[in-house]
């Protein structure tokens, strides 16, 4: 049990899924223009990552390893995650309208986002137990949400900045992302 907190903190800081592992960059730049959608996206990713961590752990240890077909993990994980997210979306849509509106269209969009798939591969490579996998998933999701929220706050301010025309929009966002990544790698790398 004592290793759960380190896993959680590590996924938020030194192994941050966006800023250190460079996964899920598409939503990181695509949905970070405004704070509202960024929070929705962060929530949706955290939810899907947790579900995916549980489902793929079960598939891996009860189907893939006993039948000795581990080479199929990419295909099966994509299949399982996307169908699970379908179910979750359907359930949320019909039971809780408020939550559905908060998550918005991002829930079905991120079914096979590379951050989510990457996290499940990481769980298997590190040979985590199911509890550790779940904590790893939540940590990665929270890390993703934090990175996205930081980025969107910065980009909202950058909208007001007096920039040369060629730097407006994505170019300055890339530079901001670079500085953020440097901070995550070096500052947290020294502390944790």
């Amino acid at each position: 049990m004592s290793d759960l907190l380190p896993i959680f903190i590590r996924m938020i800081t030194t192994s941050n899924i966006v800023l250190v592992m460079y996964l899920g960059l598409c939503p990181f730049f695509g949905v970070s223009k405004k704070l509202g959608p960024a929070i929705s996206m962060g929530l949706a990713v955290t939810l899907v990552m947790t579900i995916a961590a549980i489902a793929t752990w079960v598939i891996n240890y009860y189907i893939l390893i006993p039948f000795d077909v581990e080479f199929m993990y990419i295909v099966l994980f994509i299949l399982v995650i996307s169908s699970l997210v379908q179910m979750v979306e359907m359930t949320i849509k019909r039971t809780n309208a408020t939550l559905y509106n908060a998550l918005g269209i991002y829930l079905p969009l991120i079914t096979t986002n590379c951050a989510i798939l990457g996290l499940t591969f990481l769980n298997i490579r590190e040979e985590y137990t199911i509890i550790q996998s779940i904590v790893n998933g939540i940590g990665a999701g929270v890390g993703f949400a934090i990175a996205l929220i930081m980025m969107s706050s910065i980009r909202e301010k950058l909208e007001l900045a007096d920039l040369p025309k060629s730097m407006k929009g994505l170019p300055i966002a890339y530079i901001a992302a670079m500085i953020l990544a440097l901070i995550f790698v070096f500052t947290f790398g020294g502390v944790v």
């Binding site: 199929m72 299949l79 169908s83 019909r94 039971t95 309208a97 559905y100 269209i105």
Partner: protein, 284 residues
């Protein structure tokens, strides 16, 4: 090998069955969302984004919240199917003026403008427009590089090889307007679906660029169409004195074709007869 295939099939089937079970077990009717679901069922469901909302369900939510959105940001694909409009009207308890909302895209260019230089830059209209108003003699001539063709979800815009411009097929076009912002020259306009005579010239304010005169097919402001229409006793064409252009009253027009006949520069055309030619099948 067999085990692998079996496992993949089994997991796929289980996932499908589980989705089906969830679909059946979870109650369909939810408080607060029934109306949106009802409206959403009749929407096209292709999430094209032409209405300005991120998807059809988001549009349904907006429409339920404020029924006026159906007129302010109309769904062009929906308007083509009378039946579905009626169902949504019934669900929301409003009536929508379909006639006035139904639009078609029209490229205001007659084509055949002289090419004054070889262009070998970026193969898009937006790229060509960056370089000194393009490579055709008229600064308002369609380049025919097809930025609009790429975005058209209905596949209604085609390349007219003879005129060297793009043309919209009004039968296929549903007036979603996705092509309008694509044109760097603002040549595409949404016109009412009942338009009969199309005016195919946009030559305008950029008149003082040396070497960029209007092409010989542009409007010469001769007023012949206006006079011909008067003589026929229809008077569907009014003359805009400020811009020296004909304004066509599409309701009065009987499509007699006199104005098209007298127009020496072929600036007027029968809008209803434009049709996308069938692409010949590729033969080996």
């Amino acid at each position: 090998m067999l085990i692998t295939m079996l496992i993949l099939t089994a997991i796929g089937l289980t996932a499908a069955i589980l989705i089906y079970i969830v679909n059946v077990v979870v109650p369909r009717k939810v408080q607060g969302l029934e109306k949106m679901e009802e409206v959403n069922e009749h929407l096209p469901g292709m999430d094209c984004g032409a209405c300005g909302y991120p998807g059809c369900f988001a549009y349904a939510q907006a429409v339920v919240k404020d029924p006026d959105e159906l007129s302010n940001a109309p769904c062009a694909t929906l308007l083509q199917v009378e039946e579905n409009v009626k169902k949504i009207e019934a669900a929301l308890g409003i009536t929508v003026d379909t006639e006035s909302l139904n639009k078609k895209a029209l490229v205001h260019c007659g084509g055949k403008s002289e090419v004054i230089c070889d262009y070998s830059g970026i193969d898009t209209c937006k790229g060509a427009a960056q370089l000194l108003h393009g490579y055709k003699k008229c600064p308002y001539a369609c380049y025919g590089l097809g930025d609009c063709i790429d975005v058209c979800p209905q596949d209604a815009i085609f390349m007219d090889e003879e005129k060297d411009i793009v043309v919209v097929d009004p039968q296929k076009c549903n007036g979603c307007g996705l092509c309008v912002p694509e044109c760097p020259l603002d040549l595409i306009e949404l016109v009412p679906a009942g338009t009969k005579i199309a005016f195919l010239c946009s030559y305008g304010p950029l008149k003082d660029i040396p070497g960029r005169e209007k092409c010989q097919y542009g409007c010469t402001h001769c007023r012949k169409c206006f006079k011909a229409c008067e003589e026929e006793g229809i008077s569907a064409i009014e003359w805009d004195k400020e811009r020296a252009l004909p304004i066509i009253d599409q309701d009065k027009c009987t499509l007699c074709g006199k104005c098209i006949e007298v127009c020496e520069s072929n600036t007027l055309a029968d809008f209803t007869k434009v049709k996308k030619p069938k692409v010949p099948a590729l033969s080996a």
